[in-house]
């Protein structure tokens, strides 16, 4: 974790040390906007006219002509610097293009596996020689990249991988052996970033640490298994990749020997935020397709769009798209700031929200079409199948929630430890301070972090929502403090608690993003900014009450909290590995 963390979830982030980063909403220059619009046009056209998603899904293959078209468009090296033959675009531009590329799930994953993770290691941690050697052909698409971390026994627990790289006698190469699974582009990649255990000397003690390697298929000894038959993203190749004593030159180690785990985490963290814009792009498209149907299909002499339960679905889709976009571009904007700020926490929050929101939205869009939505004649069922992977890959949402909650609490922990030390020293003023704050918030005293009012950064039409946000923020601050006080270090094992903390944090970041974005839209008079205000206020109100409920459940002895029972049920079921109730029809004699 970087020392000087200024980004959103630093405690007391709640004190808005951070206002400067999230307000005003990041803006790009006029020239850049024009450039993005220019770049978007041919890509959109290509996807509408040349990409047959139904065929790609049916045949579980992306046709070579389509792949070539993508290469020619330049989509294989979006973030590779121009000097190495790429487009050298920023995170913001990448996110914008992701909105269109996501129209086809298989293509999106193939491109992401190649550049968001496959070649990213060389980009962010490689040395000049490695960049010069590998990036040009990867950027043009002549070579395709893959990211090889996961193994049969090591998924979420990435640090436990067993693939091994042994240094040869002459010290010139490593011999790599092991098996990787679920590798996207596994069968077609020419250049792979592979993670393996290596023996490292740490102060005279031999330790086993993970290192990252650039491995070319041409080195020999690499076999790809058969393509996995998947539920969705069927055009993306996923398979096992086995390494049998593959000779890898020592020059191909990425970063320092033994620093592989950190490289892996940095790579994964850097790509996550774009899931926000790709999900938003997909939902926006679905809204268009579905609205067309809802407006024309009639039942009971009314068009579907006149019925409340159908209207609710459209509102939900619009709200989700709005929040995802706002979060994605806020994060990308922060990442594009000079100094390479660490936005891994924000990116994780975007990923969790977008993957789950996306899944719900595609399902509801299918629902609007009813039986038609369930058939392969329409694209809805494909979108549903393609989306199911989102909460699973790039870090399962369960793991990411733990990361979000624990990292946020780590800082609260430090702050609290400081306070407890003061209290122990008998610093009465401090004790009164803590007690006083608790009394204030429990009496519902108003909280003011300076978001609204004369010098506020939030526009007056969003003031109510900003106040709700400030209230939530103060409440979560004290909730977290009391949790740490109650559990101390054992909080790490309390997943159901951490899940709620993470959900509150995600909601808060989302609220920040929409308040910031809508404020800007009003201030500069963007078209339809009134609608944005409506969306922002609606989302904030909803999130406010959800957060309150979650935090109520986190209070000591909260009657709203059923965790103890839930764990008991789970224990009894898992011990028996089955449902244990007697059948309702059974008798006792």
């Amino acid at each position: 974790m970087t020392e000087n963390r200024n980004t959103f979830t630093t405690f007391p982030f709640l004190m808005f040390v951070l206002q400067a980063e999230v307000f005003p909403y990041p803006e790009i220059g006029n020239e850049e906007v024009e450039e993005i619009n220019q770049l978007v046009a041919p890509v959109e056209r290509f996807f509408t006219e040349e990409v047959d998603s139904a065929k790609i899904d049916r045949e579980a293959k992306i046709p070579p002509e389509t792949l070539n078209g993508l290469k020619e468009l330049g989509l294989f090296g979006i973030m590779v610097p121009e000097e190495y033959g790429g487009l050298g675009l920023s995170n913001t531009m990448y996110a914008r293009l992701a909105e269109i590329i996501s129209l086809d799930g298989s293509i999106a994953v193939t491109l992401a596996a190649h550049q968001a993770i496959g070649l990213k290691g060389i980009l962010i941690a490689g040395n000049e020689a490695q960049k010069q050697k590998y990036l040009p052909k990867l950027a043009s698409g002549e070579h395709i990249a893959a990211f090889c971390l996961t193994e049969p026994g090591s998924g979420s627990d990435a640090a436990s991988i067993q693939t091994r790289a042994t240094l040869s006698e002459d010290g010139k190469q490593y011999l790599l052996s092991g098996s990787k699974i679920w590798i996207s582009n596994g069968a077609i990649a020419d250049v792979m970033t592979v993670f393996a255990r290596t023996e490292v000397d740490v102060d005279g003690v031999k330790k086993d640490k993970i290192s990252a390697f650039i491995v070319e298929r041409a080195y020999g000894g690499i076999t790809s298994g058969k393509a996995e038959d998947k539920l969705g993203i069927r055009g993306s190749n996923t398979c096992e990749v086995s390494f049998d004593n593959v000779p890898v030159p020592v020059e191909n180690v990425i970063g320092e020997v033994g620093s592989g785990f950190k490289v892996a985490m940095n790579i994964l963290n850097s790509g996550r935020f774009s899931m926000g814009s790709s999900s938003a792009g997909m939902i926006k498209k679905l809204i268009e397709l579905t609205a067309e149907y809802a407006a024309t299909r009639k039942q009971f002499n009314k068009s579907l769009s006149e019925f409340g339960m159908i209207q609710e679905k459209f509102a939900m889709m619009a709200l989700n798209a709005f929040v995802m976009e706002s979060m994605a571009y806020l994060t990308a904007g922060m990442m594009d700031r000079p100094g390479l700020p660490d936005c891994s926490l924000e990116a994780a929050m975007v990923k969790v929200f977008s993957s789950e929101g996306g899944w719900i939205c595609v399902s509801e869009a299918l629902q609007v079409l009813g039986g038609l939505g369930y058939t392969k004649d329409y694209p809805y069922e494909r979108y549903v199948r393609d989306c199911r992977i989102l909460p699973i890959f790039e870090g399962t949402n369960e793991i990411l929630r733990m990361y979000i909650a624990l990292t946020g609490m780590q800082y609260a922990g430090k702050a609290l430890t400081g306070k407890i030390k003061e209290m122990k020293k008998g610093n009465i003023g401090m004790v009164f301070g803590v007690v006083g704050k608790k009394l204030k918030s429990s009496l519902g005293g108003s909280v003011d972090y300076g978001l609204t009012g004369k010098d506020g950064v939030v526009h007056p039409s969003l003031a109510e929502s900003a106040k709700k946000f400030e209230q939530n923020v103060s409440h979560v601050g004290s909730t977290v403090e009391s949790l740490l006080y109650r559990y101390g270090k054992t909080i790490v094992d309390e997943q159901l608690i951490l899940k709620r903390v993470a959900d509150v944090m995600i909601n808060l970041y989302a609220m920040t993003a929409v308040l910031s974005r809508a404020s800007r839209s009003i201030s500069i008079g963007l078209r339809n900014h009134d609608h944005e205000v409506l969306l922002a206020n609606t989302f904030c109100s909803d999130a406010f009450f959800k957060n309150n409920y979650l935090m109520t459940q986190l209070q000591k002895h909260s009657p709203e909290n059923n965790d103890a029972n839930i764990k008991k049920i789970a224990r009894e079921v898992l011990e028996n590995r089955a449902y244990i109730c007697s059948h309702p029809l059974e008798r006792t004699f």
């Binding site: 450039e35 220019q38 770049l39 041919p42 056209r45 468009l73 330049g74 078209r527």
Partner: protein, 254 residues
Amino acid sequence: MSGRVLVGVKRVIDYAVKIRVKPDNSSVVTDGVKHSMNPFCEIAVEEAVKLKEKKLIKEVVAVSCGPQQAQETIRTALAMGADRGIHVEVTGKDYETLGPLQVSKIMAALAKKEDAQLVILGKQAIDDDCNQTGQMTAALLDWPQGTFASEVSFDGDKIKVVREIDGGLETIKIKTPAVVTADLRLNTPRYATLPNIMKAKKKKIANVKPADLGVDLTSRLEVVRVDEPPQRQAGVKVETVDDLVGKLKEAGTV
């Protein structure tokens, strides 16, 4: 011969957009609507770039008349391979009444100024469907014209143009300098790839005002009213041919 080709490109509402008429029936809604290069202009640019790739001509200059946004259209032409652009600035009321007569005057003036060997235009724009600019430009310049071209080739100092006409195809040979208008089957325009768009940023777009060219933009036309096409009426089924003849007589059509 200068080896220079002038290509006119027009920014129009994208072909896939559902057009809506403004409530006051004065024109169609353009605010916030997706715009792109007229498809026939794309074909014109593609043809010019192909000629340059075959080394039959030396320079492709893309021209567009309109407000600031016209530059986006010129940039697309540059990304497709044009060498430089000329943006003729026309805004406000002048832009609303800009039509083939005015544009052809501008194109003629530029053709002379730039010493063009060839002017290639799309056969018509998909917004007004006038199909006049190419013809008027040739007339103003007193140059030969090869319109509705589905094939263009150089034959010595002449240009051979295969034209799509109602009866089929007509082949003509015209002397240069000349005006050619592109029809659908002339070629398939290339995608402006992202790397080419980036490279095109370095290409120059000159800014010119119609007054600088001595062109009078006054329109001789006034748009009275714009309406949506009438809704398609439901058909009527008849049982026999006699019934059909009866109904047609009733409707006054026989």
